[in-house]
């Protein structure tokens, strides 16, 4: 399986080179007024998303599909809640700037 090879992880890592400048451009266009701690929070949320997906599909891959899907659902809810909170925090700067 290609997903178990080193070249796969090289490509997956290289995609980060696209995600970061795109996120920076998007944040600027939305006027989010990004500071270092906002980047840290956003990055942590994104890493958590990747971590949960990686973990849950590992559980599915080891032959526990029901457990993996339940965990995906449970962690998906956590990610949505955290995501809503993150968006509010990110947008808070924009409101202050516009006022």
């Amino acid at each position: 399986m290609i997903t178990g090879t080193s070249i796969f992880f090289l490509i997956a890592g290289a995609l980060t080179g696209l995600v970061i400048p795109a996120a920076a451009a998007g944040a600027r266009d939305l006027g989010l007024g990004m500071r270092w701690w906002k980047w840290l929070l956003a990055g942590a949320w994104y890493l958590l998303l990747l971590f949960f997906v990686f973990m849950d599909f590992t559980i599915i891959g080891e032959g526990e599909p029901a457990a993996g899907m339940k965990m995906l659902l449970f962690q998906g809810v956590i990610l949505i809640i955290l995501g809503v909170g993150l968006v509010r925090v990110l947008r808070a700067g924009r409101k202050r700037k516009s006022s």
């Binding site: 290609i2 997903t3 400048p21 795109a22 451009a25 998007g26 559980i59 080891e62 457990a67 965990m71």
Partner: protein, 540 residues
């Protein structure tokens, strides 16, 4: 107004292209994480060591986990295990008692003036192929009557007087469980054809036929075997000997190896192999060290315990590793004797595994190792080769078992305690977790497939594939002094992972011969064999 400002731009700007590309890349990364996760979960190299040989299979550094002294508290006079205390030892005594009872009740034969009571024995078949299927080995005669408790030899009679509940359990097994097992086998046996074949094919035993003072000083079988061992070859130091023995043991097939000093308390006091004597024996003076090792089960089949798993794959591998290690030590001039599942033991496994630092004893009475959890089978070699010994380890099993209780909840025979701790449990002077071995054995005799149960072994949360998820959980749990990780992982195990309830593993109609997980496709009879069968798991 300038023309450029009034005309909207066509197509996608470079900035928008960057944003769209980044969004696609982020989605691809999430997909890649899913694919990599699937790959990590399926990776056969995470099967905890059975499939490749080398000292990398014992991957947990035990030095930070070492403790001084044994983890067992001695709470009384210690002694060696007697024959009547083991279900296997007692089984032999019961059969002898029953045969004796049958002989005493038989009407006198013609030589004594009575009528002829037995038919002429049938002529034995000329070839194995002539044996009709009905004559295949079974689980004892269809109807048996257990003699009264005082009708056995003095040791067993005394034992039953002290433990009448164990007599009742033995009686239930002999009079009710075994006959019913015959019926279940006749009805559902074909469904288990492949797992029966898988289980039976691992036969590797080479019986020990001479006492230790002879057999331990003879080189192994094969070419040039059977001669007296040479003069001992000196090692540079006990540490060198220990290092070499562990290295070769790994290459011989042992996933985990440790070394302990001999403790006579943990040697049986009866039936020394090769002695031809069922009675008491002294532990030989040349049994100074015990090399303890473990070999994991094939994961897919052990995960479908109790009715579609087998003990015999790991039994066989552990036995072969023990035979090789015994031969290796003898070739270097030191006496050695193997103790293994297929060749038999003169010692009890659990305390030596604990003393050798391979793991800790869990609520289910067996040892939990950091690498394979309880998914392994043990073998030993006793020898006089001076080696550096290992220390017992503590990686939090006691605390984990106190809270977890999954093994107790899933046990079909309710043989595992639900107690908060093991303070009331004492075996021959040592305090440790203990189970009701007799009711456990009674369930073995009810299960189908490769004989035995092994549910507690596989349901233990420590018995998991060695992928990054479980390795991370293990690393965090063993280093968390607060117990929060322990609570969290136990909650996750019970919340997200489901398995059949205890009673579902029982024979129909009480249960449905359930399995912990679906058997692998290569052990499903219907996938390969063209035979009719009833599937008890579907209520047939």
């Amino acid at each position: 107004m300038p023309k450029e400002e009034s005309t909207p731009k066509k197509g996608v700007s470079r900035r928008d292209f960057l944003k769209i590309g980044g969004t696609v890349a982020a989605a691809a990364q999430v997909g890649a994480a899913a694919g990599a996760g699937l790959s990590a979960g399926r990776d056969p190299s995470t099967l905890t060591g059975w499939q490749h040989l080398g000292d990398n299979t014992q991957f947990v550094d035990r030095r930070p986990l070492e403790i001084d002294g044994l983890p067992y508290e001695i709470v009384g006079e210690t002694r060696r295990p007697a024959e009547v205390e083991s279900v296997f030892g007692r089984g032999g005594l019961i059969m002898r008692g029953m045969m004796s009872e049958m002989r005493s009740r038989r009407p006198p034969g013609p030589e004594a003036g009575g009528e002829k009571s037995r038919p002429e024995p049938e002529k034995p078949p000329e070839a194995v192929g002539d044996i009709p299927p009905e004559a295949a080995p079974s689980y004892g005669p269809p109807r048996m009557k257990m003699p009264a408790p005082d009708r056995f030899g003095p040791a067993l009679t005394e034992y039953y007087r002290k433990f009448p509940d164990i007599y009742e359990l033995d009686k239930v097994r002999m009079e009710s469980i075994l006959p019913r097992k015959r019926q279940d086998t006749a009805k559902y046996g074909d469904y288990y054809t492949l797992i029966d074949a898988w289980s039976a094919c691992w036969s590797t035993g080479v019986p020990i036929t001479e006492p230790p003072e002879i057999s331990d000083f003879k080189t192994g079988g094969g070419m040039g075997g059977g001669r007296r061992i040479r003069e001992p070859v000196p090692f540079k130091s006990p540490a060198h000997a220990s290092r070499l023995i562990k290295k070769v043991a790994h290459h011989f097939g042992a996933a985990m190896v440790g070394i302990a000093k001999m403790n006579p308390d943990w040697c049986y006091d009866h039936n020394l192999r090769g002695s031809g004597d069922r009675g008491f024996w002294e532990v030989p003076k040349h049994w100074k060290y015990v090399i303890a090792f473990g070999v994991p089960h094939q994961w897919e089949q052990v995960n479908s315990n109790p009715n579609c798993g087998s003990s015999f794959d790991a039994y066989s591998r552990a036995t072969i590793a023990a035979q090789r290690l015994e031969n290796f030590i003898k070739e270097l001039g030191y006496p050695a004797r193997r103790h293994s599942p297929m060749d038999g033991y003169d010692l009890i496994a659990v305390p030596f595994l604990v003393a050798a630092g391979l793991g800790q004893q869990g609520r289910h009475g067996i040892v939990i190792t950091p690498e394979a959890g309880s998914n392994f089978r043990a073998a030993f070699v006793t020898t006089s080769l001076p080696m550096e010994i290992d220390k017992p380890i503590d990686f939090g099993v006691n605390e984990f078992c106190r809270d977890c209780r999954i093994c107790a909840e899933i046990c079909p025979s309710r043989s595992i305690s639900f107690e908060d701790n093991n303070e009331k449990m004492t075996t021959r002077g040592y305090r440790h977790w203990e189970i009701n071995q007799t009711s456990c054995f009674n369930y073995w005799m009810q299960s189908m497939g490769g004989l035995g149960c092994r549910l507690c072994l596989i349901a233990c949360p420590y018995s998991r594939k060695n992928n990054w998820v479980h390795a991370m959980a293990r690393e965090i749990d063993t280093r968390d002094p607060t117990g929060l990780a322990n609570d969290g992982f136990t909650w996750m195990q019970k919340t997200f992972f489901k398995w059949p309830k205890a009673e579902e593993y029982l024979p129909p109609p009480d249960g449905r011969f359930a399995t912990f997980r679906e058997p692998p496709e290569w052990l499903k009879t219907g996938n390969y064999l063209d035979i009719p069968f009833l599937d008890p798991t579907k209520g047939e």
